[in-house]
């Protein structure tokens, strides 16, 4: 059942991409992408809820669940920030990342079919895992906003018009969304880090050290932006690189 619902979520995300592309082609904004993403979100929520119930813990036990959790978190932040801040086309630009993440979750072997119920729960560990992965959803969306800002800035600098430029949000709006998503992600990540420090440590401390380094780098970026400002290209690239590096390092650890 999980796999079928997850496939349905993929269909919703693909539909959101198609509707987003259509709105670019017609040069008009529409609600189709947001509604489709809401459909995907509900499917992701269902699968995560079911697996969480079966585990008796936060559903972050295998690669598939981690990927799905990130996809869910990213979709959630899109639904919160995209329409509210009128960040037009954020949905369209997010869909490839969400779709890839969901395909990773669906990939044979990544989502364990037999789930065993855990008897004991370390709540700090749950906080650490849940909040940290949720923060990655916000960071992923910030990276998407960064890509959008780079694309728009380059097009505007070259004096290029067209439907993509016409439909996208303003440069300032994208920069603000990127900054706010970084802040939201960082605050959530802070809670995750606190959970990590408090939880019972099994194995090495490597992943916690990496998490603290990433947390510090995001913090540096955010506070530098607040106090002194940052050239927009530096801000966008830093956000993208930090997100990709963080994912890669965590995968390695």
């Amino acid at each position: 059942m999980d796999r079928q619902v997850l496939i349905l979520a993929c269909v919703f995300v693909a539909l959101a991409a198609v509707l987003g592309l259509r709105s670019v082609r017609h040069g008009a904004r529409g609600w189709g992408t947001t509604v489709s993403m809401l459909g995907a979100f509900l499917c992701q929520l269902y699968v995560l809820g079911e697996r969480g119930r079966m585990h008796g813990q936060c559903p972050l036990h295998d690669v598939g669940e981690v990927a799905l959790f990130i996809a869910w978190s990213q979709t959630m932040f899109y639904l919160i920030t995209g329409p509210a801040f009128r960040t037009s086309l954020l949905g369209l630009f997010s869909t490839p990342v969400i779709l890839i993440t969901q395909i990773i979750a669906l990939w044979p072997g990544n989502l364990e079919q037999t789930v065993t119920k855990e008897l004991s729960v370390d709540y700090w560990r749950e906080v650490h895992l849940g909040f940290s992965v949720m923060a990655y959803g916000a960071f992923a969306l910030a990276a998407v906003a960064g890509v959008m800002a780079l694309v728009l800035r380059q097009k505007l600098k070259k004096g290029l018009s067209g439907n993509l430029v016409g439909t996208m949000s303003s440069v300032t709006n994208l920069d603000t969304s990127l900054h706010r998503l970084n802040i939201v992600g960082w605050v959530i990540f802070t809670v995750g880090i606190i959970g990590g420090v408090m939880m019972k440590v099994e194995g090495g401390l490597a992943h916690l050290i990496v998490a603290v380094i990433i947390w510090s780098l995001y913090g540096l970026l955010i506070f530098r932006k607040i106090w002194k400002g940052l050239p927009p290209k530096v801000m966008a690239w830093s956000t993208i690189i930090l997100f990709v590096a963080a994912l890669w390092i965590f995968a390695a650890v």
Partner: protein, 337 residues
């Protein structure tokens, strides 16, 4: 029954003739009612904008246009020379013409949207005076719904077609809403004034004017409810403004890369938009290489305006199709082709 539209517009008449027949907005209802008081006329709407004046009327018998002209001879001094500038649409042509007018297809700026509001106000004024009945009510209501469909189903209003509006659109693409934006004009020329005025009309917060002649800067600043800045001091203002409109007659660049680099950190790297409408250019091309700075010169703005015009022109055929299709559904008893 005869339905006519007698009118003149920017294509058929020069401004001296157009202004002779213009009717103030407060008098549109009265003017519509005036038409219904003519012998044999039962309905009337007068539309008057800076680019057109049109008289829509319905009569029970033929000769409606002649009766309106005779009325205009008495009230506006219509001469034979003026008469040559008038066009006449009759019966179903009136509905087609009205749809084209409301959709902005007959406007000086193809696809502009202001005309729809102007027609609506003219119609409502006549309606309040009870100067409209079955025929014009249906015709105008239909025209409004057709225009809505034309705008939502075609790209007739997409893009901008004048240098000023392209610049303002770009400013919105960079800053979003302009309500927090501060504008500086360098050089007190007419084109700067017009562009800055457009920015203010879209909500720009404040305006600074600088010019080599401080008196000119003061006068323009006063006109625009802004603040004059001495030419030696404009660099200080650069750290606070978001949009700079420059059109001096200087033979060399007025704004250089070094000057902008100096204020970047102070501005916290906020976007800065230069609209350079001077020839030769006022903004050193190297300024555009700075990350958060956008420089648009006259050539680039003109090209975008031309692209916008071409884009809208391409949509005309689709608009005409919608009008034909929609008017086929309009049935007004007694209205012939």
């Amino acid at each position: 029954m005869e339905v006519v539209c007698l009118g003149l517009n920017h294509k058929s008449a020069p401004v001296e003739v157009r202004e002779k027949f213009a009717v103030g907005e407060s008098k549109l209802g009265e003017a519509g009612k005036g038409l219904t008081e003519l012998v044999g006329l039962s309905e009337g709407v007068v539309l008057s904008t800076c680019n057109r004046t049109e008289f829509y009327a319905v009569g029970e018998t033929d000769g409606v246009a002649e009766r309106i002209k005779s009325h205009l001879r008495e009230t506006h001094g219509l001469s034979e020379d003026d008469d040559a500038h008038f066009y006449l649409k009759s019966q179903s042509e009136v509905a087609t013409h009205l749809c084209r007018v409301v959709s902005g297809m007959d406007s000086m700026v193809l696809g502009e949207t202001e005309i729809a509001g102007q027609v609506k106000r003219s119609y409502e004024a006549a309606h309040r005076e009870k100067a409209t009945k079955g025929v014009l009510n249906r015709m105008f209501q239909k025209a409004f719904s057709v225009a809505k469909r034309v705008r939502s189903h075609t790209g007739i209003q997409r893009g901008q077609v004048s240098v000023g509006s392209v610049a303002v659109d770009l400013a919105e693409k960079i800053f979003g809403k302009l309500r927090d934006s501060h504008v500086m004009i360098i050089g007190a020329g007419e084109m700067s004034r017009v562009t800055a005025q457009s920015l203010l009309s879209r909500g720009a917060k404040s305006i600074f004017v600088t010019n080599r002649s401080y008196d000119k800067a003061l006068s323009l600043a006063e006109d625009m409810n802004g603040q004059a800045v001495r030419f030696d001091d404009w660099e200080e203002v650069l750290s606070t403004v978001d949009i700079v409109v420059s059109s001096t007659g200087a033979p060399h660049a007025v704004v250089t890369r070094d000057q902008v680099e100096k204020v970047r950190a102070k501005r916290k790297y906020r976007p800065l938009f230069f609209i350079d409408i001077a020839v030769p250019r006022d903004i050193d091309p190297e300024v555009a290489e700075i990350d958060e700075v956008y420089v648009y010169g006259l050539d680039m703005l003109s090209r975008l305006a031309e692209e916008g015009h071409q884009q809208r022109t391409k949509e005309v055929e689709a608009c005409e199709l919608i009008i034909t299709e929609e008017l086929q559904k309009l049935v007004i008893p007694g209205l012939t082709k």
